[in-house]
Amino acid sequence: MTATASIAPPKPFWTARRRETLTFYLVIAPWLIGFVLFTVGPVAYSLYISFTDWNMLRDPAWVGLDNYRTLLKDPDIGHSLWVTTKYTIVSVPLRLVVALFLAILLNEATMLVGFFRTAFYLPGVVASVAVAVLWQWLLNPRFGPFNKMLAVFGITGPRWFNDPDWALWGLVIMSTWNVGGEMLIFLAGLKGIPGILYEAAEIDGANRLQRFIRITLPMLSPTIFFNLVMSVIGSFQTFDGAFVISTARAGDLGSPLKSTLFYMLYLYKSAFTWLKMGYAAAMAWLLFLVIVTITFLINRWSRRWVFYGS
């Protein structure tokens, strides 16, 4: 074979490898085209318009860093970031604790596990808009079952979504109902902890609490980290529920008194009510920066407590 190589005919251009490469790019073309058209293009364009003043009627006018300067001075930016942060700080730990607690209960049970799991997961299946409308009714100050139950104990319930001091906490309660996804991920994590660790600890005389703190929590820490990061990222983009509840009965976005003016609601208002496209694009980049920074910080912090054993 090697002896005759010199007089072999010239290789055809379409070698098997080249043909495979071509096929590959043809087959992934839909994604590649879509990626350029609907992701790369928009991202680049968004950066450009964040340096312009544009209401979509006239041509965009280049204003340099003006939008970003305005961002820093706009009191509603600070306010909406604070509302979003406050909500995140309270709701994320609460949600994770509830999800973990439910997962542990399910992990301990042997009978009717399917039924209980379904009951806890069900709220995660349904549309966020319906959840918001439903909770508005459950937390209705006068007729909602929540306040009626409080009244049984002689407590006058708050006016929830009508009271600027309580509206955000109503949303926190609502979000705690919907922890099924996190719960299932925790449950999968719990199932992954080798039983032999618990057996060894039991022989050494560790009680349930000790086993939980010394085995379950460290072994579950990568799962906790994953759920924490995903919840925080999601929480900073809260939109649906707050939109639906604050605009109920012709209310203003973020009402009452801007107490639920989440960052995404303010962004929506800037872009689609006031048509300040340049400003809203700058807002989106600020949010991106905030999310990246927080994710980075959680990641750094996690090195102290996430245990990647074995």
């Binding site: 879509g34 990626f35 968004s46 009951a119 872009a271 989106a284």
Partner: protein, 297 residues
């Protein structure tokens, strides 16, 4: 173990406790008590919603609550479906158009793309797959405004195109799931087809697709849920009342000054029911979808 502790265990109460495993019995009692209590608490809102949706208006304000609506007012649903300016029958039809258009596009495009990433070799493949996964991390907020501008320049606002067309260009999560699945299919099946002279498209649609029905079903079901529940997309791109989806329709109904609470609940039931029913039929697909997300991280 010293003598003292052995003596301690002969204490009749401790002995009885141990012999009948009272501790573990008590523990199980607490676990199941909590499970039953909490599951009822989690289910209560659904129960309350359905109850309110079937009551005449005056009865939903009564306390103690009327546990059985009298009469059961099915006409609430009829009123919602034929609402004069927010007709839910139209919204259901619109949402179904989106479902069909988007699920078809997503399944077709993702099958092709995932096959490429699962089976074919080409320079740049690994980098491109990394980019596919990276796009899952881009927050929606950054894309929101430029995409809106793009679609409005194209004249697509107030049509279904901004929602349906991108679905025909692949979706990162579905591509990832399918690629993982395709890699588990034995290569020999394709090789024999190549010997028989089959081209890539024939291999994909005659061999890969029939063997991948489980993963295609999972993606179709999860997509159905996401499209049905989506709020922000239709809210931005569809303005005319004849074009709204169920989700946005409910938000608008909720935004009206004078909407009756029982009608609002009937509309909420309308929005919730399809995904709930789908969940009960295909519970495994949902659970798989979630735990696969977990693995991805």
């Amino acid at each position: 173990m010293d003598v003292k502790s052995i003596q301690f265990q002969t204490n009749p109460v401790a002995l009885f406790w141990r012999e009948h495993q009272i501790g573990s019995l008590l523990y199980r009692l607490i676990i199941y008590g909590l499970l039953i209590g909490l599951s009822l608490l989690f289910l209560f809102p659904f129960f309350w919603m359905i109850l309110s949706a079937l009551k005449p208006e005056y009865q939903i304000y009564m306390w103690p609550p009327k546990w059985i609506p009298d009469p059961i007012q099915w006409s609430n649903f009829k009123d919602v479906f034929t609402h004069p300016y927010l007709p839910f029958a139209t919204f259901v039809k619109n949402t179904m158009i989106l479902e069909v258009g988007m699920i078809t596009g997503r399944l077709l495009s993702c099958t092709l793309v995932a096959y490429g990433f699962a089976r074919l070799n080409a320079p740049g493949k690994d980098i491109l797959f990394g980019i596919v996964l990276a796009t899952l991390m881009i927050p929606n907020a950054v894309l929101l405004i430029p995409r809106f501008i793009l679609y409005s320049e194209l004249g697509w606002i107030n049509t279904f195109k901004p929602l349906i067309v991108p679905a025909w260009f692949g979706e990162a999560y579905a591509i990832f799931l399918m690629r993982q699945f395709f890699r588990t299919i034995p290569k020999e099946l394709e090789e024999s087809a190549v010997v028989d002279g089959a081209n890539t498209l024939q291999i994909i649609f005659r061999i890969i697709v029939p063997l991948s029905l489980p993963v295609l079903t999972v993606i179709a079901i999860l997509s159905f849920k996401d499209i049905w529940n989506d709020f922000m997309g239709p809210l931005l791109y569809l303005n005319e009342q004849s074009k709204l989806t169920v989700s946005v329709g409910l938000a608008y109904l909720n935004g009206q000054f004078d909407t009756q609470m029982n009608l609002l609940m009937a509309a909420s039931v309308t929005l919730m029911m399809p995904t709930l029913i789908l969940f009960f039929i295909a519970q495994r697909a949902f659970v798989q979808g979630i735990t696969m997300t977990g693995l991805k991280g």
